[in-house]
């Protein structure tokens, strides 16, 4: 054996064996803390990739908005600000219930955790249902981009681009919501089975990070899509 690396009996290993292994500790980590830190960092990095993911669409949005401001304003006025506003409130509410859920998991209140998580899922589903109504309305008006697209006005083509981006952005967001709801379901079930404890509730925390991220995306999408030229409309 070269000298560069001394191979010792690992004191941590011994220490770990002295305690009983936490059931959630995976074999390749030394400690629960290391595992928690790795998971959290992983989630943050994942969210960075998500930012870039939405970033591509937002880049297209920005460019065309600069080129076609009038079409953007016309397209935006087609969106239902009340339903959009309602959904915004619903999502912000779900972020709050999510935060309560994480808090409950942290303090080891199993029943409260399950309750808050279920409420979060309910709010998420509400959002999706409302979104579904909005999409359906667009469908009835032939405002879905594509061969059947119909829009009155001189900027019909550019409004079609706006609506393409609207469906792209909100569709992608909705997809994230659906994934989020499924993930929440799994976490809730795990919480219900008592898998979490104050020492280890990483999945709840990570699900929370993801959920807040999806909310924040909406907080950007709502003004960018619904409120482009509303001030103009009010005045």
């Amino acid at each position: 054996m070269p000298n560069g690396v001394a191979v010792h009996a690992d004191p941590h290993g011994v220490a770990d064996h002295a305690h009983a292994h936490h059931p959630a500790l995976q074999h390749h980590f030394q400690t629960l803390e290391q595992q928690h830190e790795a998971s959290t960092l992983g989630m943050w990095i994942f969210l960075v990739t998500e930012v870039m993911f939405f970033g591509g669409l937002l880049m297209a949005y920005l460019l065309y908005r600069v080129w076609y401001p009038t079409a953007w304003s016309e397209g935006s006025l087609e969106l239902d600000i009340y339903l959009g506003g309602f959904n915004t409130v619903v999502l912000i509410g779900s972020s709050l219930t999510m935060a309560f859920g994480v808090r409950a998991a942290q303090t080891g209140e199993q029943k409260a955790t399950v309750r808050w998580l279920l409420l979060t899922i309910a709010l998420g589903l509400t959002f999706l249902v409302v979104k579904g109504f909005e999409y359906h309305h667009k469908y009835e008006l032939n405002h879905i981009p594509g061969p059947n697209f119909h829009f009155e006005g001189p900027f019909a083509s550019q409004v079609e681009i706006f609506l393409s981006l609207y469906f792209g952005l909100t569709g992608l967001h909705a997809l994230h919501m659906i994934i989020g709801c499924v993930m929440m379901g799994v976490i809730t079930w795990m919480a219900h089975k008592g898998r979490f404890s104050p020492e280890w509730y990483t999945p709840v925390e990570l699900a929370g990070l993801y959920w807040h991220f999806v909310d924040i995306v909406w907080i950007f999408l709502f003004p960018l899509l619904y409120l482009v030229d509303r001030a103009h409309q009010l005045s």
Binding site: Y68, T70, P154, F155, S157, Q158
Partner: protein, 331 residues
């Protein structure tokens, strides 16, 4: 036997020698550095070779002065190349003021060239020797790229936009013309030749074709499409008078200004509401689908040919219009 291998393309434009000089310079610089590294690697690899694999090398960890040196020197040299190349580039993209204008459209899989005097040709382009030529072009379907290797210029043809290349031919003869941007099945068949002729021969060639000039064809379209009913020469119509507007600044409804150039005229025909001239109502319908790219180019030529409104507009109009109508009628 090796003499059969071409190593260097023909130089047939004023810009070509400049591009080639730059090419030689970069080749010399890079060859020098490549050789330098190759020599060092070879010498070290042989000189310090150890067949046993038992010895160790000297534990040299690095040298800050060397690191700084071989960061800064390549950077400075690359800046020389950058500066030189940028100067050449601006000569390539900036056409001189007085050029012979030719319009072109690319579509799968051919190039159509339209001379102002009325000649049009497919996959062949005749140009005079020694005169700056500017080809303005667009694509009717997918991306293409108009490439003249002997002139060392190319630009992509993008649907919905105008691109241009310019060159001053310095050699008579026939040279390649390629599509350089992949465009589907017959991409490699979207080729042709550019024929550089003595100016006299060119004039003779031009007059051989006949047909209407682009401006005259533009005027016909201007009548047929009904543009004339709003864009009255005296400015009293529902649309602005177009005389003398080309190349000028136009104030827009939203307070900004725009230069009236090929792109603006094209946009105003196809999406009229986009940049509305100040003081006019958004009444003009789109002409998308009613006029093709070549028609738009003809309209641009017509608008270019209009004299400024007010000053003897009627007279100029009287001169040009009947002639065009006659020609149109005689067809």
């Amino acid at each position: 036997m090796l003499s059969g291998i071409p190593l260097f393309p023909e130089q047939a434009s004023t810009i070509a020698p400049q591009v080639d000089n730059l090419y030689f310079f970069i080749t010399a610089v890079t060859a020098f550095f490549a050789l330098l590294v190759v020599v060092f690697v070879t010498v070290f690899a042989i000189k310090y070779r150890d067949r046993t694999g038992e010895k160790v090398g000297e534990p040299i960890h690095g040298s800050i002065p060397l690191e700084i040196g071989w960061s800064i020197i390549p950077f400075l040299i690359s800046m020389v190349i950058f500066a030189w190349a940028t100067v050449v580039f601006f000569q390539i993209v900036r056409a001189p003021d007085q050029t012979l204008e030719i319009y072109s459209t690319g579509k799968r899989w051919m190039w159509r060239f339209q001379h102002i005097d009325g000649q049009s040709e497919i996959n062949e382009l005749h140009v005079p020797l020694g005169r700056p030529v500017k080809v303005t072009f667009t694509s009717e379907d997918v991306l293409h790229s108009l490439y003249f290797p002997a002139f060392r210029v190319k630009a992509d043809a993008i649907p919905g936009r105008y691109s241009s290349v310019w060159f001053t031919p310095t050699k008579t003869g026939e040279f390649h013309l390629f599509c350089a941007e992949y465009c589907g099945t017959q991409h490699s068949g979207m080729i042709g030749k550019v024929v550089v002729m003595e100016p006299n021969d060119y004039q003779a060639w031009l007059s051989g074709g006949g047909g209407l000039t682009m401006a005259a064809r533009g005027e016909q379209l201007f009548q047929q499409l009904g543009c004339v009913s709003c864009h009255l020469p005296d400015g009293a119509g529902r649309g602005p008078s177009l005389g003398g507007k080309f190349g000028e600044q136009q104030l827009l409804g939203n307070g900004s200004t725009v230069t009236v150039d090929d792109a603006y005229v094209r946009e105003s025909i196809l999406t009229p509401q986009m940049k509305l001239a100040a003081g006019y109502q958004p009444l003009m319908p789109t002409f998308q689908g009613l006029v093709n790219e070549e028609g738009v180019m003809s309209l641009i030529e017509y608008i270019k040919s209009l004299p400024p409104s007010g000053q003897t507009a009627a007279a100029a109009q009287a001169g040009a219009a009947p002639a065009a109508i006659e020609q149109g009628g005689s067809k």
